[in-house]
């Protein structure tokens, strides 16, 4: 009996030692064109992917889904890609990297394991999730899309906030309050998520003066009335309301999915 237990233990250690670890990137909301793999790759930028995967030595998958849809629609598209990739490449453990709404999409998957038969096998292989600037309690910037809905939502605001579409509606503070209470796990007062989430909140606005996105985010922060510190799109309180704080970054919402203003990809690579 004792010998059998020792053999089983050694076997488990050996299996763990040989576990093949991969990394999956899940982008945030945006246009329908984010369902195109090349657009999703450009969302992260090549240097972010290179840095995180240690010069592409870690097996990786860049998920691509229609960025205008609700979390359960995006979750289905993402789950299909992860499920096929992890099985085709025999990846045993997955570190998930998400940006913005991508953090809500993976929370949907982890919170609703029976919703889709592919969810539980994926959850079983997740090692942990690194969630950059997730609107876990919603975003006041998405609320602004509601305030300005109809003919008022025009111009540069649409470019930043998004049309008044399903993914934007998903991210309003009212919607996220509802989903957090009934469909999503991980916030205070709710059951915990089955795997650990490490959150990275953005607290900077003016990163560089070469990108018009920086002007837009700083303006949006002031107009939407994001409370406390924020990255121009998501407030710190919202990003940190699920999981464990890994670190703060002064990279804004445009830069905190890149490896440029702050070397966030280099930080993510320390997991491997």
């Amino acid at each position: 009996m004792r010998r059998t237990a020792i053999v089983l233990f050694l076997l488990a250690v050996a299996v763990a030692a040989e576990a093949k670890v991969g990394v999956v990137f899940i982008h945030g909301k945006g246009g329908t064109d984010l369902a195109n793999p090349s657009v999703a790759r450009a969302y992260w930028t090549e240097d972010m992917i290179r840095a995180t995967t240690k010069n592409y030595t870690i097996p990786y998958l860049i998920c691509s889904y229609d960025g205008t849809q609700y979390m359960w629609v995006a979750g289905g598209q993402v789950a299909g890609q992860i499920y096929n990739w992890m099985n085709a490449n025999a990846v045993d453990q997955i570190v998930i990297e998400t940006h913005s709404f991508g953090g809500i999409v993976i929370r949907w998957i982890m919170s609703n394991p029976t919703y889709d038969s592919r969810y539980q096998p994926i959850i079983n292989r997740i090692k942990w999730v690194n969630s950059i600037a997730p609107p876990n309690r919603g975003s006041e910037a998405a609320d602004l899309a509601g305030t300005l809905s109809g003919s008022w939502l025009t111009g540069w605001l649409i470019d930043l906030v998004g049309q008044s579409n399903d993914s934007t509606r998903n991210c309003s503070t009212s919607s996220m309050s509802y989903y957090n209470q009934y469909y999503l796990k991980g916030t205070s007062g709710r059951p915990a998520l089955p795997k650990t989430v490490w959150n990275i909140a953005g607290t900077g606005l003016w990163n560089d003066f070469a990108h018009s996105e920086d002007y837009g985010l700083a303006t949006l922060s002031g107009i939407a009335g994001l409370p406390g510190e924020d990255d121009g799109m998501v407030a710190q309180y919202s990003a940190q309301s699920v999981g464990i704080v890994w670190f703060l970054t002064d990279a804004n919402h445009h830069h905190n999915r890149h490896n440029d203003y702050r070397k966030i990809g280099d930080s993510l690579a320390t997991d491997f």
Partner: protein
Amino acid sequence: MKRFVLVSLFVVTPLFGQQSVGRFEPGAIYREPERNAPPSVSRMFVRQVEGHEVDLPATGGSGMIIALPGRAPSTMKLSSGMQRVALDATHDVIHIDRTEAQRYHFADLKDGIVVASEPESRVTMTSTVGPLSRMPGQAVTLHASLRDGDDAITRARVNAHLVSPDNVEQELALREVANGEYEAVINDLPSKAHGFWTVRYEADGTTLHGVEFARNGSNQFMNERASARLHDLRIERTGDTLHVTAIADVAIAGRYRFDVISASARDAQGERHGLAWGESEATLAIGSTELELDLPVSEQQVFTDVRLLSLDTMGVASRLTIAPAHERFER
């Protein structure tokens, strides 16, 4: 650190195909769902450009951000403390370092809307709507609170636009029900559309100090479908297992999830501690069905929260709770 947390995680056990059961982390607090949408605090407003001109009321003592509908005209003269910033090739923003309590007039603008915000202003509109999860037949209460610092803003004009998911819109005025508190109660919605409805609030008037202001904001609430109803909720204990059953009367067939959360009796601070949770998914036909779920709970006095969630079209079909016996008889 990351590896330590990984091994210290509690266990969540998927029992079989369509069920999962788990325990709360020790010390975790259980919270009942919030009744209303989270309050939204606004210091911004919107103005339509008419005849290429617009007047913007500033409350003073704050910076101001003014997003124009296009590029600022070449005729625009910026006084000291004002600067123009190009957002992109077609849009400019005007920043004012610190406003005076007065109207700012802009001319020669492109037609469209101007969005203005005073991020540090003492004048705020805090709005909400409830219930956040509105069951068929429930009244909806729209509420806005206007403040100038600690002072209530009375005699303001507050309107709301109620917009359904199928874009049926109703405008209504909110009545001042207490100093600075404005409310409207709607018993019948203008559409039966289920899903998230948006309430857009518009307020304007003058503060107690005679300063003109305007504010816009919004909230949402979920208009639930009459898809199913829970009743006859029962809990029975067998050793360390809590057996929970309820009857679901289903009006719309489809995929549903029976969610059960077990929490402790209230502690001295009035808090409940989460004990265990379970979820059981099933496709339900029209008619009555008994739903059941077993939770690993050894505590004797428990609070039980059960929900029936729709999975075909997201929404809460029904929710019931049972408090511990000794709390039911407390007053």
